[in-house]
Amino acid sequence: MESTLSAPVIFFASIFTNNILLAYFLGMCSFLAISRELPSAVGLGIAVTFVMTCTTALNYIVYHYLLVPLGLVHFRFIVFIIVIAAFVQLVEMIIERYSPQLYVVLGVFLPLITVNCAILGVCLFMVIRRYNFLQSVAYGLGGGIGWLLAITALAGIREKLRKAPIPKALEGPGISLIIAGLMALSFMAFSGMIQIG
């Protein structure tokens, strides 16, 4: 059965109530590692949003027009990852060409977007929830913006934290994980509005 939710609903739900990062805790590693400074967090967030939207669309086409007709649905994990990997290579080339500064800042996390589980997660959710093309793109874009929102918020908080008196044992990842948890709690407050998954 196809999902009956309209694309805009899915878009907003995936940003707020079903935030891929704060509700499903996907894509944590780069979320914690690149959230030390606001500019690079925003840069990575935009890159993730871009990759997520485009790969959801690409993977939708590959899944419904290649894998389903050929009966190769069981290959979806491999195929999705291959498409994501190729696409990330492309994005890497473009960023290296047009923004060497961002390229240096993102460093190893740019190729690591390939294995950012949030991106694969969005592609797989799209299949499980039987979204049509428009819904899938809305979900990809919303998921990406949700991830961008979450990492931007965390980076903003962490920049402020630099001057805060934090107990020694909690410095670095410790306090970041606690903040991520608190952020997830506060996002749960939205969950009464819409539910998509």
């Binding site: 590959v62 290649l66 050929l70 009966g71 190769l72 290959f75 491999i78 195929v79 291959i82 498409v83 190729a86 290579q89 492309l90 080339m93 473009i94 290296e96 060409r97 060497p100 500064q101 240096v104 460093g107």
Partner: protein, 367 residues
């Protein structure tokens, strides 16, 4: 069966399609067009194809920046000053820079990509570095794992170098080595014989270059080299000299000794040569010959693991042990060290403790 085939074919087809797409994108996005590199404020200007690393791009233009690792970013030698257009400093460069170098725009040329017009500054001496075509005229096993390669210069026919300097040896493609690699080797012959060079090369298990040199290189082969490089050479003074070598690290020191013998530089000098056992010693005849014209020169071979059949009665232990025992006051001593990096670190520490000034300890680390 068909199911498996269809699966295999469609996944391979998809991969091939994506690979093709990436190739096209690469040709489009990685094309930086032509860039101009201005060297030393207009002394030399070259127009190059952008997209490559600065080190390789300059090498294609006949300008050689010293590099021991061949552009892998592991030796930190290929420093140049990039005045304009170098972009931000990369994390791969910072470990090799001190604060002063960071501030003055020093970069590792093997890491900087030529994306746009550049302004750089390099020492004038780098212009003297040239590429040479040579021919192998002799191959000799000095020990069970060190080979002497004797090269005759073909084009240009002569090389001007300071004894102690090194050259880069181009290892061509061969099975197991998909692209040419460069490795640095010290010159082990006299600078006065400037139409030929000798290199002493230790075999390294599975080493790309040393495997080629030990197993494949034949007499009569053409070899491309470039150089000379390095600031490891004899400083003129009257101070006592301590020379320390391990293994093929003897090469630059023997070249320095030839120079001293030929130019009659009579200084108190001691060569400590550390190897494992007697079968690892080499150039003993050459050392004996130099010592006849250097009255105040002493040769001290040190074996770390002499074999019973060696019947060794000389020094044993680490190469630094006799120095530890014999050197009392190092304040009037100059030291030249070449070989294993661990030995050099230990020797530098010891010499400093013995009062040798840090700026009088010269070394060439084999890495």
């Amino acid at each position: 069966m068909t199911q498996i085939l269809v699966g295999l074919l469609s996944i391979s087809g998809l991969c091939a399609f994506l690979a093709l797409l990436l190739e096209i994108a690469h040709a489009y996005f990685a094309n930086y067009g032509e860039c101009r590199i201005d060297i030393n404020d207009g002394t030399k200007q070259v127009t190059v194809k952008g997209g490559g690393k600065l080190l390789g791009t300059l090498m294609d233009q006949g300008i050689f920046i010293p590099s021991a690792c061949g552009g892998r970013g592991s030796c930190g030698l290929c420093k140049v000053k990039v005045l304009e257009g170098g972009g931000p400093i990369l994390p791969t460069e910072t470990p090799y820079m001190n604060a002063q170098e960071l501030a003055s725009g020093i970069r590792l040329s093997c890491q900087v990509r030529v994306r746009n017009d550049l302004k750089i500054a390099i020492p004038e001496a780098f212009f003297l570095i040239k590429a040479f075509k040579t021919r192998v005229i002799g191959l000799k096993s000095l020990t069970h794992n060190i080979r002497e390669v004797h090269l005759k210069l073909v084009d240009p026919p002569e090389i001007v170098f300071k004894p102690g300097q090194f050259i880069q040896f181009e290892v061509p493609e061969y099975e197991g080595c998909p692209e040419p690699v460069y490795r640095a080797y010290s010159i082990a012959s006299a600078a006065s014989r400037n139409t030929e060079l000798k290199l002493t090369i230790t075999y390294v298990e599975r080493g790309l270059a040393t495997t080629y040199i030990h197993k494949l290189l034949q007499e009569g082969n053409e070899v491309r080299i470039n150089g000379p490089y390095g600031d490891f050479y004899l400083r003129h003074s009257d101070r006592d000299m301590i020379l320390i070598a391990t293994g093929s690290g003897l090469a630059p020191l023997i070249s320095i000794l030839y120079q001293m013998a030929e130019e009659g530089i009579d200084r108190k000098a001691t060569l400590y040569f550390g190897v494992r056992s007697r079968r690892d010693l080499f150039y003993e005849e050459e050392i004996r010959r130099v010592s006849t014209s250097l009255p105040r020169f002493t040769y001290v071979p040190v074996l770390s693991a002499p074999l019973p059949e060696d019947r060794w009665e000389g020094e044993t232990g680490m190469v630094t042990d006799p120095i530890q025992r014999d050197l009392r006051d190092g304040s009037q001593t100059e030291a030249y060290l070449c070989g294993n990096p661990l030995m050099i670190d230990a020797a530098v520490k010891l010499l400093k403790a013995k009062g040798v000034a840090e700026d009088r300890i010269f070394f060439d680390k084999f890495s």
